[in-house]
Amino acid sequence: MNPADLKYTKEHEWIRVSGKRAIIGITDYAQKELGDVVFVDLPSPGQEVVKGDDFAVVESVKAVSDVYAPISGIIVEVNDNLQDSPELLNSDPYNDGWIAVIEMRDPSELAELMTNEEYEAFIKGA
């Protein structure tokens, strides 16, 4: 089940907001579609992103997927644990498998994201 306190995108990212910080990851649905994740190409902290930019890459054996910024801002933190343990994306996508933290420039962009109910309806339709 997708946590109710998160926001979601059509590209299967989730966002956990606390103050100006937004923690980004990929959803349980996304990790299942990808299969065993073998590598995560992380951005560098300090990098600026605009909503919709691809800022990270998640690789499985047979697939590869870009991770898109759900909101604009500056990347202030990345999950270095994923370098050695990319499988965290499979085992715990909503917690230990987080990818990066973005300091939001315009929190009003959050309004365009989906709630967990909307997201679940969305993946059922897909």
Binding site: V38, S60, V61, K62, V64, D66
Partner: protein, 447 residues
């Protein structure tokens, strides 16, 4: 027909199973206006005995290395190819297989590539190697694309001592891929790593040197160049002759980030320029930018060791337009030749081939300088190729020597107009003292 098994009876049975009356119906989707109504205009088919005879006579119109004394090098070398290499390459389990997509029935090809990768790493002193690329020239291009990708910069600084054939190919790619190519000038007729320092700036993605360089020189200063490049955030790429690496310090110990180049010298026949193989090895941090196939070891369901194509997510069949490269093959059979060759030679054999080539080149160099009309070319230590100045038109000399059964030396003005009286000699372990003395005698008479 020898290569088509279907008899008319087979065809009739198959057409019945399909439910059509004749083969032509199977092509009904091709618009009638496009269907050829005539036979292709090609030479009449030749049965095997005639064909072989005709092709042998065509081959006889060429002068092969075995019928001449070869002093041509410049990236393609007349080293001895041990008999074993041809026999292993002739095993059709290797040469009639395709890319090892189905690992379980391709362990032979996969393990051979893994062994190849290991040998290339050990020769170059670098961490990881791919499964090989098209040739030396395109390997240099791919190394440059790795560097431009890693640095997100688009300027490439190239030594004038990089093989002009590679530079030409690189220039084409730079033109179409919007990269800026800056070639270091020859300072007093000599390329030098030092001379490149000033060209490296904050826009530079990569600096490329050759080791030994196109003129055969072993340039000093590669380590210093690595420091300069790294200080500006650029990568150092080195096109190294793998035979020379039997004796010379590996690029990985000189601060080089990507070593690449032509692997033909390792057990591949000269073949009029191809097929050969490009090799490419790099530091671990650039692994995921490496183009082409990569083989990795793993285990099967019962824990047994096996090999697979790995890190495929970089590749075009998954990433499509976002792929690291569009390359989806390697020169597997040529890489196999290199692997068999290096297995036969071992470290001592490789060092011996390198040393014999070096000693013979130096013997010839000293003998040539005894001739009036020949004077030293570019200065400094050299490996198995060297330049000299001749008091003659180098192109005319090149043609005249054919009459004596001698191929080479190469006139350098073809690539460096300013070096109009210089020629490039190459001497491999294959040249005997008798052949070297013969060349000296012939040249003594001509100059």
């Amino acid at each position: 027909m020898a290569f088509i098994a279907n008899t008319p009876a087979d065809q009739a049975e198959m057409l019945a199973a399909i439910g059509v009356a004749e083969i032509a119906e199977l092509f009904a989707d091709i618009p009638a206006s496009l269907r050829l109504t005539r036979e292709l205009n090609l030479p009449a088919p030749e049965a095997e005995p005639i064909l072989l005879k005709n092709l042998k006579s065509l081959a006889a119109r060429n002068i092969s290395a075995g019928e001449a004394v070869v002093f041509l090098g410049a990236g393609t070398y007349d080293h001895y190819v041990p008999s074993v290499v041809g026999h292993i390459l002739g095993r059709s389990e290797f040469y009639t297989a395709y890319t090892p997509y189905q690992a379980e029935i391709s362990q032979g090809t996969l393990q051979a590539i893994y062994e190849y990768q290991t040998m290339i790493c050990n020769l170059t002193g670098l961490d990881v190697s791919n499964a090989s690329l098209y040739d030396g020239a395109t390997a240099v291009v791919e190394a440059v694309l790795m560097a431009t990708g890693a640095t997100r910069r688009c300027k490439v600084v190239v030594s004038a001592g990089l093989n002009p054939e590679y530079r030409r190919v690189l220039a084409t790619y730079c033109d179409f891929l919007d990269l800026q190519l800056v070639v270091g000038l020859l300072s007093e007729g000599e390329p030098s790593a030092e001379q490149l320092h000033d060209l490296v700036d904050e826009q530079t993605a990569a600096v490329i040197v050759q080791y030994p360089n196109f003129f055969g020189q072993i340039e000093a200063g590669i380590e210093q160049l690595a420091e300069v490049a790294h200080a500006k955030g650029a990568l150092l790429i080195c096109a190294a002759n793998p035979i020379a690496l039997g004796l010379l310090k590996p690029p990985g110990e000189l601060g080089v980030d990507i070593a690449c180049g032509e692997g033909q010298a390792l057990g591949n026949r000269m073949a009029f320029g191809g097929p050969h193989l490009g090799y490419l090895a790099c530091r671990e941090q650039y692994l995921r930018r490496m183009p082409g196939r990569i083989v990795g070891a793993t285990t099967d369901a019962s824990g047994k060791r096996g090999y697979v194509l790995t890190l495929q997510a970089r590749e075009q069949h998954i990433r499509r337009q976002k792929a690291t490269s569009n390359i989806c093959s390697n020169q597997a059979l040529n890489a196999l030749a290199a692997t068999v060759y290096l297995s036969l030679l071992g470290p001592q054999g490789l060092a011996q081939v390198a040393e014999h080539s070096v000693q013979k080149a130096h013997y010839l160099y000293n003998q040539l300088l005894q001739i009036e009309g020949i004077s030293p070319g570019l200065p400094g230590p050299f490996f198995h190729e060297f330049t000299v100045r001749v008091k003659a038109n180098p192109e005319e000399l090149f043609s005249r020597l054919v009459e004596y059964g001698i191929l080479g030396p190469l006139p350098l003005a073809r690539y460096y107009p300013e070096l109009s009286d210089l020629v490039l000699f190459c001497v491999t372990e294959q040249r005997t003292k008798e052949e070297l003395d013969y060349l000296v005698k012939v040249l003594g008479g001509l100059l």
